[in-house]
């Protein structure tokens, strides 16, 4: 018998971000009123971030295949074959809203999250990049946001020990109330040692690894409604704090454990923590999952099932282990000073069962939590065509010399050295081209291969014409890679847009994706991973449509590369292209 001590009111449903029809759909699915824990679980699984409910049907159109693609979208990160038995694993992800609230920690945990996505698959991270957009430089909030975000990215990556080799910084008033912080991580693994989220085998142990669970990141509105200790005079902060040291330990411990042969499946606990990681592992493997929350290592006392299932505490992993390997795994984790606990098992029931303090707190059909999530074909309108301006009709507002000075002195065009000097871009000793050029180049192990990496998009092009802007972003990434001598292989994307519930911004989204798809198809440059970030707006003012593209290319011989600097006096300068 499953008890429900909290009345599920329409207000509570609303605070969980579920629309009335979405809630009805859920009730129908389970055939009864959900418990509070179940409501929390479904709100996490069915929100935009996890379910891609507004974007899914459009993303289907993107080219994702090529002979060198080992794993396309749908896993923690994309995987491509770069020869010699090696795979490059990479992904980009946004942390826009948390970075606006607390720039240092928001950016830091963004970097931490994407690094975890990459090493969850068995890869050792070898480079990271970031794509940043801020409001006007003169806006009172901008300096604080810029310095916090840059310090946070550096603080996490530098301590973790991955070189931050590239990125992009730009400013525009449309980001005044909603900055963009997108982080990309790139790792290396052997093609026959890649790990996936899909659980297999009935009765196998599910283990919890890494840092303890606290009340970090639990949604503010729901916090207020649930009855926590009223004694605490301060409103509980929902900000997640990153611990790069713990992440480094987690990396080493996970890689060591993977080598031992004990790991069947692994999933990092990112947004929606324990909930989405467990559901994903079970659903992908056609298995049920049973968790006993009494076993979860907690940082704070008296945590409820609801809180544990929704906590976004960082630096945690969930794994399915081969039975009998628990002790060996535990020894590895203790050597690295991390928590380890067997907290559940796989079952053949296809149900997601949560037990806590002798009670069943949730009992849900596991596949439906993912598969039956609402999917929307939201109304959208084509972005209005901008009139073509005849070059002859524009009068020069200043001389060429003045224009040049103004351009190179503008915040968007000036040197970004002040940013990347705060990143350790040299660690690991493989950075062949540092930030400041077209694409960065990192050597693969001891060579001879190298990877060319870049992040790009020009949002004002996307605003003027989403389709052309989307195409251009891919083309620019492609050009940046070829400009340093690389063969472009694949991209990851981070689609930052305003509210999908407004047909105009949905139109921008749809247009940009079509453009990206067209360019990727034409250039044999598939999308292997990505992230969608919608609702980037404040007070009805949306950001510029900003589909950031992270491109990866290969150099067969990394010593043969080109850089932006002019090399010698009297060299000829040649302009090529249409």
């Amino acid at each position: 018998m499953i008890r429900n001590d909290v009345a599920i009111t329409p207000e509570l449903v609303k605070e969980h971000g579920l629309k009335p029809d979405e809630y009805d759909r859920f009730v129908q699915l389970i055939g009864r009123t959900p418990t509070l824990t179940e409501l929390g679980i479904v709100s996490a699984m069915w929100n935009e971030h996890c379910s891609y409910k507004s974007s899914r049907i459009h993303l289907r159109g993107l080219p994702t295949k090529a002979p060198w693609v080992i794993q396309g979208p749908g896993e923690n990160a994309g995987v491509i074959d770069i020869g010699d038995g090696l795979a490059c694993i990479f992904k980009m992800e946004s942390h826009n809203h948390p970075s606006f609230i607390e720039p240092y920690q928001g950016a830091a945990t963004g970097v931490g999250g994407i690094l975890r996505d990459v090493f969850t698959m068995g890869a050792r991270p070898i480079a990271s990049l970031n794509f940043l957009r801020f409001g006007e430089p003169d806006h009172p909030k901008t300096p604080h946001l810029v310095s916090g975000v840059v310090a946070g990215i550096g603080g996490y990556g530098n301590s973790f020990g991955v070189p931050t080799v590239g990125g992009s910084v730009g400013f525009h008033p449309r980001y005044n109330g909603n900055i963009l912080v997108n982080a990309m991580a790139v790792g290396l693994a052997r093609t026959d040692e890649i790990f996936y989220a899909k659980a297999t085998g009935v009765g196998n142990p599910i283990v919890y690894l890494g840092s303890k669970t606290g009340r970090d990141g639990i949604h503010g509105a729901t916090m207020a409604s649930a009855e926590f200790d009223d004694a605490s005079e301060e409103k509980r902060p929902t900000v997640q704090v990153g611990d790069p040291f713990a992440e480094k330990l987690l990396l080493e411990a996970c890689l060591e454990l993977m080598k031992s042969g004990a790991v069947i499946a692994i999933q990092d606990m990112g947004a929606a923590g324990l909930t989405s990681s467990a559901v994903e592992m079970g659903a992908k493997g056609n298995l049920g999952i049973e968790l006993d929350l009494d076993k979860v290592p907690c940082r704070e006392e008296g945590m409820t099932a609801y809180e544990m299932m929704l906590s976004e505490s960082q630096e945690r992993m969930l794994m399915v282990l081969k039975p009998g390997m628990e002790q060996q795994a535990e020894a590895i984790f203790h050597k690295w000073g991390l928590d380890f606990a067997v907290i559940g098992k796989t079952t053949d029931t296809l149900r997601f069962v949560i037990k806590h303090e002798g009670e069943v707190k949730a009992d849900l059909p596991i596949k439906e939590l993912g598969d039956e999530a609402p999917v929307y074909d939201r109304p959208w309108v084509e972005s209005p065509r901008q009139p073509v301006i005849a070059p002859g009709s524009v009068k020069a507002p200043m001389t060429e010399a003045e224009a040049l000075l103004k351009l190179v002195g503008s915040p968007d065009q000036c040197s970004k050295r002040w940013v990347w000097e705060q990143y350790d871009y040299l660690i690991l000793g493989n950075t062949v081209q540092t930030p400041g050029g077209d694409a960065a180049i990192v050597r693969v192990e001891d060579g001879p291969k190298g990877l060319a990496l870049t992040t790009d998009v020009t949002p004002r092009y996307c605003e003027a014409d989403p389709f052309e802007g989307g195409k251009q972003a891919v083309a620019e990434a492609w050009r940046n890679i070829t400009a340093v001598g690389g063969l472009p292989l694949a991209i990851t994307d981070n689609l930052n847009f305003a509210s999908p519930e407004r047909p105009e911004s949905m139109g921008q989204f749809v247009g940009c994706i079509k453009g990206i798809g067209e360019a990727c198809g034409a250039l044999d440059f598939p999308v292997v991973s990505g992230n969608v970030s919608l609702y980037n707006e404040t007070n009805g003012q949306g950001i510029l449509p900003t589909p950031a593209i992270g491109g990866v290319g290969l150099l067969d011989d990394v010593t043969v590369n080109a850089s932006v600097a002019f090399k010698r006096n009297e060299d000829a300068i040649i302009l090529i292209g249409a």
Binding site: S159, F160, G161, K248, W420, Q422, G429, T431, V432, R443
Partner: protein, 231 residues
């Protein structure tokens, strides 16, 4: 020559220094921080860069008190060679093997950039391959590299010739502009009294190949290997 590279849980530049040592012709063994002894026949102990225990309290503070450090202190007392780079320098200061402390950079930010160093003397096991007064091109990557010591200590370091490197321009001139982290007397590295322990903030191990920036860092590792071979 046999090098022991100490690995703390948060070390992250151990691979870089292993590569540089190997290129110079050294045998290398990695030693976990919980060990109580160094491998037999160790000539050189290296404390690599990184964030040994997260470096949340004071950089190197927790590592300076790690189990393995007793063995490192004993090795140094016997006259054995010890090299601490970046976090390794911070650890040497915290463990009492070198005087002074590394504080937050003057601008309070982490800085990563190429940097010239003036080689103060070339008659030590670490610098024989360089010329005295030579400006070598290396890089720095740290948030807390601002060398600070009391007046007496500074006087002693200067008086006894224990300053190993200073931040300089490309010509070896020690200028205020070249001293970006605010270190006293532009100090980038110092020796122990017997010149067998060197701590330095910059990373010579990241400039040992033309492909990744230059080779000025090689001299340090080559000096060490030839010194150990001669001994």
């Amino acid at each position: 020559m046999k090098s022991a590279v100490i690995v703390f849980p948060g070390s992250n530049r151990e691979g870089d220094v292993v590569r540089a040592l190997r290129m110079a012709g050294s045998d290398i063994q990695k030693v976990w921080h919980a060990e109580t002894e160094l491998p037999k026949g160790t000539d050189l102990v290296v404390l690599p860069g990184g964030f040994s225990y997260g470096d949340y309290l004071r950089c190197g503070a927790i590592a300076g008190r790690a189990t393995v450090m007793d063995a490192v202190r004993a090795h140094a007392a016997r006259g054995g060679l010890v090299l601490g780079i970046c976090n390794g320098f911070q650890i040497l200061c915290e463990s009492g093997l070198l005087p002074g402390i590394l504080m937050r950079n003057a601008n309070l930010r982490f800085i990563c950039h190429r940097q010239f160093l003036k080689v103060e003397r070339n008659d030590t096991p670490f610098t024989k391959a360089y010329a005295q007064g030579q400006a070598i091109d290396v890089c720095v990557a740290h948030g807390e590299g601002n060398y600070t010591a009391d007046e007496e200590t500074l006087k002693r370091l200067e008086g006894e010739g224990l300053v190993a490197f200073r931040y300089s321009d490309a010509h070896g001139h020690v200028t205020a502009d070249a001293n970006r982290n605010g270190s006293m007397n532009s100090i980038a590295g110092i020796y122990s009294e017997k010149l067998n322990v060197l701590g330095m903030m910059p990373h010579p191990e990241n400039l040992v190949e033309d492909l990744v920036g230059g080779t000025d860092g090689r001299g340090l590792f080559e000096s060490l290997v030839s010194f150990a071979k001669a001994a």
